[in-house]
Symmetry: C2
Subunit: 326 residues, 2 copies
């Protein structure tokens, strides 16, 4: 999802870091969809970074900028221990080593998407930039390890890495999925499309969000910023909006009215609650702020971004404030 | 050095965690010296954990406790990038995987020696237990990654890991070596043995120390403690003594007198200073304290431990307070 939106954005901008984009290589384990009418050359590769030699081949054009958005998601990395480590740790390390060995003087900007899953309780009221990474999932562990590698390979001069810890992206377009975090998007997206959504946790759960549009902004900013400004700590917690489920619902009410809110069905789920209770709720993302990363200011704004970017600014037939739609 | 002292301690105690020790396997890339007159069976192996299959073979006896004190030290891991990653990262991961795959229900206590090298500036006045690991060396990076693996493998139920972040061990017996930290021991050890020592940094440099005897205590405590008390964060900063070089010298004066202090030759070295300035000076090791880990209380005590354990309680001919030795 994020990769697709990033390519759309690059297609629209046609420049990155003040330079025209001449060539883009899209690599994924499944076939990538090429953007419509790009002003640059687009190549696609179906490739698995965790296979020996693949990264070297992908880098043969010595790209100036690499976006590494991999790979196996949280739930899957927990369910399949070996697959997660192979893909998220070995794949990333092989990519870094391929960059290191690609040739004298080659030092591309590598933007790596980390995650707030690198953190684990106990939390302070707002998690600061120097808080330790003590993940409670194998996915979070793999991301935290990749962060350490990125900083060390950068310090050694092999790559020019920037790691960005993404908030939970909300509102995700598309269908609900099996991720434990899926409901954070579903309870907004589904009602605004006239469909029911299940809420498995209490209203006081607090979490850290940014829109897909903000996430793409982060990626572009991470590609463009002056690396020296980061010093030796190349991984940064991204800004976001701290909101409780109750505040999410209130934002839904503002846009979709009571009828939308009534489409949320409360169905407490012990297992989801146990996972979600360990997630962070608020950050003090001061480094990111100083480096010019910007997210939404409120959850209302996050919902508006969804309506603008995914619904063409219009709420579906079943949504909307009933007092206005009747 | 630490491995040898640990084996001496185990030989003396003959028990660990309330149970008699029946068998010890010493594995190193060089030949190990067997302890004198142990009450248990001792086997030695010259083996490289980073080679495939080696860890599995070493674990064939399914030991209840594994001490992993590896491996390539700071200076070497910085000088030889690939060797450091191979030994400190791949070796540790292969060991963890061999434990994971060794058989149903096998879940040994694995004591891993990490290091305060996992930290990097900026530091608060005292580094707390939740401070982030942002190492400034490849060695520190490899240790921080091993910590993450240890916690995740433990959380998944594959091993019962305890990682202990050792302070700089002081006073190291033996000869000065090429490590940047070598002088911290040399400026005490050499004068107490009637030899000159070089001090490459200013007197206000502050650092975090524990004696070799305390470090062995940490290892034994880490093997014996109740794993559940650690929760999901299995790596702990060890207690120590925060001392400036000036305080070190004052402690030397107490024991060795003015004559010993005069054997310290100040020879500022820019490169050493640049490295040492990035090292942490003080920790608030509250978790370790609550878990019963104990270090010395003062640098005076650290010097006394050296005199007791390495000099048989006697200071060499050239040492001693001149006013008393004359």
């Amino acid at each position: 999802m994020l990769g697709r939106k990033l390519v759309e954005r690059l297609t629209r901008d046609a420049i990155l870091g003040g330079e025209g984009i001449s060539h883009v290589l899209l690599a994924d384990v499944v076939a990538s969809t090429a953007p419509a009418a790009p002003s640059f050359e687009v190549e696609s590769a179906v490739a698995d970074l965790a296979e020996g030699g693949v990264a070297r081949e992908l880098l043969s054009g010595l790209p100036d900028v690499i976006f590494h958005l991999a790979a196996v998601v949280s739930g899957e990395a927990e369910a399949d221990f070996e697959k997660g480590y192979r893909s998220n740790l070995d794949g990333t390390r092989l990519l870094l080593d391929a960059v290191r060995l690609a040739g004298t003087g080659y030092r591309p900007r590598l933007v790596f998407t980390s995650s707030i899953a690198v953190f684990g309780p106990p939390y302070p009221q707002a998690i600061g930039d120097h808080h330790g990474t003590t993940p409670l999932t194998s996915y979070g562990t793999q991301k935290a390890i990749a962060e350490l590698l990125l900083s060390d390979y950068t310090r050694r001069g092999f790559v020019d890495g920037v790691g960005i810890r993404l908030p939970t992206i909300c509102v995700r377009p598309g269908e609900p999925n099996l991720a434990a975090s899926s409901f954070f998007s579903s309870i907004i997206r589904e009602p605004l499309n006239g469909r029911e959504a299940v809420l498995p946790v209490p209203d006081d759960i607090q979490h850290w969000f940014a829109s897909p549009r903000a996430a793409v902004d982060f990626l572009v900013r991470a590609a463009e910023l002056e690396g020296d400004a980061l010093g030796n700590h190349r991984c940064i917690t991204m800004p976001g909006v701290s909101a409780t489920v109750a505040e999410q619902i209130e934002a839904l009410r503002q846009v979709g009215g009571e009828r939308a809110v009534r489409l949320i069905r409360r169905e407490p789920d012990e297992q989801t609650m146990r996972i979600v209770r360990t997630w962070p709720g608020r950050f003090a993302a001061e480094r990111a702020d100083a480096l010019g990363f910007r997210a939404e200011r409120s959850f209302d704004e996050i919902v508006r971004v969804y309506v603008e970017d995914e619904l063409g600014g219009q709420i579906g037939a079943a949504g909307g404030d009933p007092s206005r739609s009747r």
